[in-house]
Amino acid sequence: MAKIIVTTSGKGGVGKTTTSASFSTGLAQRGKKVAVIDFDVGLRNLDLIMGCERRVVFDFVNVIQGEANLKQALIRDKNNDNLYILAASQTRDKDALSLEGVEKVLNDLADEGFDYIVCDSPAGIERGAHHAMYFADEALVVTNPEVSSVRDSDRVIGLLSSKTRRAERGEKVREHLVLTRYNPARVEKGEMLSVKDVQDILAIPLLGVIPESPSVLTSSNAGAPVIADPLSDAGQAYQDLVARFLGEERPMRFMTVEKKGLFNKLFGG
């Protein structure tokens, strides 16, 4: 049985696409057969982060509208044979998706033997986000330690428990908190909400904390998900997150300020 996971947040620019790319890559690195779908119709981005933008011929909307079949539209990842990307359409508008169309694609992927289908949601709580979350079994609720992001995540958690297929059947979507762009130094100075603050407010289980990291930008420049960079703190945090998702015990890292040398202690910023 394929498991459907939505990466969602309400607010834009918090790290959903970054998380979808690394999460799906991490699952594939661990031998799972994974498809990752960009639901951001009109604002395709996942292809760039995955570094497959030049190989997009057909997209999600083409498949839904019967202009291409699924096999033609799935792009095999350059580094992982069991990871496939389904790009968003760049030219259509959001009305090109329908719940029936989405359901058919998800069912076809499940029939193809995919273990995990990761749905990268667009921002907002309108149709696009609804389509991305509706069939989900589990949700990665991507949140930044910042007031508007936390409030929007709370909205989204409400939608997950009311406006999804599972909710309509009286079942629960399993929610995971993914706190990204975390800056322990600012937390220690009292300038940023802490992990605990966000957990207390949202009250869903924490799957991982991803530090604010310059390597996210350099990875996206190069078209490789940050999880593929073994030297990156954010990449390592995503590795831990994927391991935890698959049931391994991993202590949380990158949640406190690294100890500095004496020089930095005295004169550092």
């Binding site: 910042e146 007031v147 409030r151 009311s162 937390v187 009292g190 300038e191 909400l193 207390d200 407010i201």
Partner: protein, 91 residues
């Protein structure tokens, strides 16, 4: 002890402010959406009984009594909100 921070002007810790504001904003949002009053199952009953008690003394609308459980610093806080009707003249 960080010497430089000793000399730097102390800025107020705004994270606590953010937390407090969010607690309120999120509670309001949850009530408003009529959802995730994720609290214990006795809450609806408690609300009904409180409403009945209040109505012995003041005539209030059905939604006038709100009950929430908030978690703060590991403590559970039972929060009650009872809105009285606008004071009308001559009644």
């Amino acid at each position: 002890m960080d010497l430089m921070s000793f000399f730097r002007a102390k800025k107020p810790a705004t994270a606590q402010l953010a937390r407090d504001r969010l607690m309120v904003a999120v509670a309001w949002q949850r009530d408003n959406d009529g959802r995730r009053n994720a609290g214990p199952s006795y809450l609806p009953q408690l609300r009904e009984e409180l409403l009945a008690v209040v109505r012995k003394y003041v005539q209030v609308a059905d939604g006038a009594v709100q009950v929430n459980v908030q978690r703060e610093d590991g403590l559970e806080v039972l929060e009650m909100n009872i809105a009285l009707p606008d004071a009308k003249t001559g009644s």
